[in-house]
Amino acid sequence: MIEKILAAVICHFATLLTGVRARWLGSLPDGRVRVYYANHRSHGDFALIWATLPKRIRERTRPVAGADYWLKGRLRTYLINRVLRGVLVDRQAGHTDQADKPTGDPIAAMSAALAAGESLILFPEGTRNLGDGLLPFKSGLFHLARTNPAVELIPVWIENLGRAMPKGSLIPLPLLCTLTFGPALTLQTSEDKAAFLARARQALLDLAPPAD
């Protein structure tokens, strides 16, 4: 119960601070199992996607988060496990220096959530981008698409949140944020990893406002 209230508080606060609005171009919010993948520049990115999804969809949508960051400290652990219901993955697969680290293969953990009928939010750059534009994608998105060929991938461009609360700044700027949801993508037969990742990355970049 308290977790649901906290989740609602996070969404309302994010909406109030950023005046966020969602533009759905080429896809519509519905209950289908999906992977929303977005550019990542701020810790608030996930909250903002959550805040723009209708409540019934939000309750069935989980973020994919780096275990190395989120399992540091009790508050973060509580937030990611109970409130945000994150699917924790090990970003440095192979390094096993964390006692509390999630077990197994990240793709298996994500696929299990999808199989349970829940959508995912994924940041395929793998880390927060401190510059402009978009970093190269990690291969996770490709492996996820190959393992779950029926699941739609929806690109989501998050505009301005990275400027409003950049890394290392204590006070956020009251900028207005816009989320643009693009048309769904699926892995095509005979599409290799590099081609697919390039196509997915371009689909996300196409939603960004013109650079100057």
Partner: protein, 314 residues
């Protein structure tokens, strides 16, 4: 007639006019078949609704006196600056300068009106912000498109804060024989300039043929400009009795601020087009943002302020 009576009559008149407009808008909507879409009628009704909000907010602010008016326009500046900076590309190195804009220069500019310090009010942003903000930005140690970024921040602050703050600053002018009636100057400015927007729209829709500049604003026509500006100049002249002007002075002042207001909308359209935007925001659903509403006020308020200050304040 006391100043309060004048204001009551003015607002009573405006609300009555709005009620008639709403009635006509409602009837036009009703005459259309249920479910039938009409862009023009819906747009008209959205505009009338925005006017209710605008006049309602103004009436509420007037009720709060000078503090109420300062707070209303400080909020308008905040929202407009928010929209401007949100649509403008800046970099991480500008973060601190932008914080200064929102948290220091904006409140201080309006605070200076409250304490009536005209000397600093008039140079705070053109001089102090102009020099201090780029200094703050250099500390971000990022030289990429530096001049362009500094210009954008300064421009946003000028348009959204400095220019708009000249509306409440009208309350600080001491005009002989006009004591206690300065709120009427705000009514004159807002009503003249905003009605110009409406009349341009109406004239453009009815008679518009020659597009002024399709690449900047596809809806603006020569017929709309001439008809709209002349009609609202007549409105301004008709309001001479609430101002320290005589009728022909009121007409000339109204003509000046209408022209400036028109080009204010034009200039900000050019910025919008360059950024690939249709509207500055979505504050009023389907009706654009704050900056779409106040672009004409922003360009006309400082000039109106200086005209009154130069010729009517001894």
């Amino acid at each position: 007639m006391t100043p309060t009576d004048t204001l009551l009559i003015l607002f009573g008149g405006i609300f009555a006019a709005l009620a008639v407009a709403s009635l006509i808008g409602g009837m036009l909507r009703w005459r259309l078949q249920a479910g039938q879409a009409s862009g023009v009628v819906d747009n008209l009704n959205a505009r009338i609704k925005a006017w209710w909000w605008m006049i309602g907010a103004l009436a509420l602010a007037f009720w709060g006196g000078k503090a109420g008016v300062i707070m209303l326009f400080a909020f308008i500046s905040f929202q407009a600056l928010r929209e401007f900076i949100s649509a403008t590309h800046t970099r991480l190195g500008d973060h601190r300068a932008l914080l200064w804009c929102f948290l220091f220069f904006l409140p201080l500019q309006y605070g200076l009106i409250a304490i009536d310090w005209y000397g600093l009010f008039s140079i705070l942003i053109p001089v102090y912000a102009f020099l201090l903000l780029p200094i703050s930005a250099t500390l971000g140690a990022d030289t990429t498109r530096f001049l362009e970024r500094a210009a954008k921040v300064q421009w946003g602050l000028m348009i959204c804060v400095y220019c708009i703050s000249h509306v409440p600053a009208l309350l600080t002018l001491e005009i002989p024989g006009f004591a206690g009636q300065n709120l009427q100057l705000i009514v004159f400015l807002v009503l003249t300039v905003q009605s110009s927007d409406v009349f341009q729209y109406v004239w453009g829709k009815l008679f518009g043929k020659h597009k002024l500049s399709p690449e900047i604003s596809p809806s603006k026509t020569l017929e709309g400009l001439v008809g709209g500006v002349l009609t609202s100049t007549a409105v301004g002249a008709g309001l001479w009795w609430i101002t320290p002007f005589n009728p022909w002075q009121a007409a000339l002042v109204a003509l000046t601020i209408n022209m400036l207001g028109f080009f204010g909308g034009f200039v900000l359209s050019a910025i919008k087009r360059d950024r690939g935007l249709k509207d500055w925001g979505a504050m009023i659903e389907g009706h654009g943002g704050m900056l779409d509403r106040v672009d004409s006020i922003s360009f006309s308020a400082p000039i109106f302020f200086h005209i009154v200050r130069y010729w009517w304040v001894p």
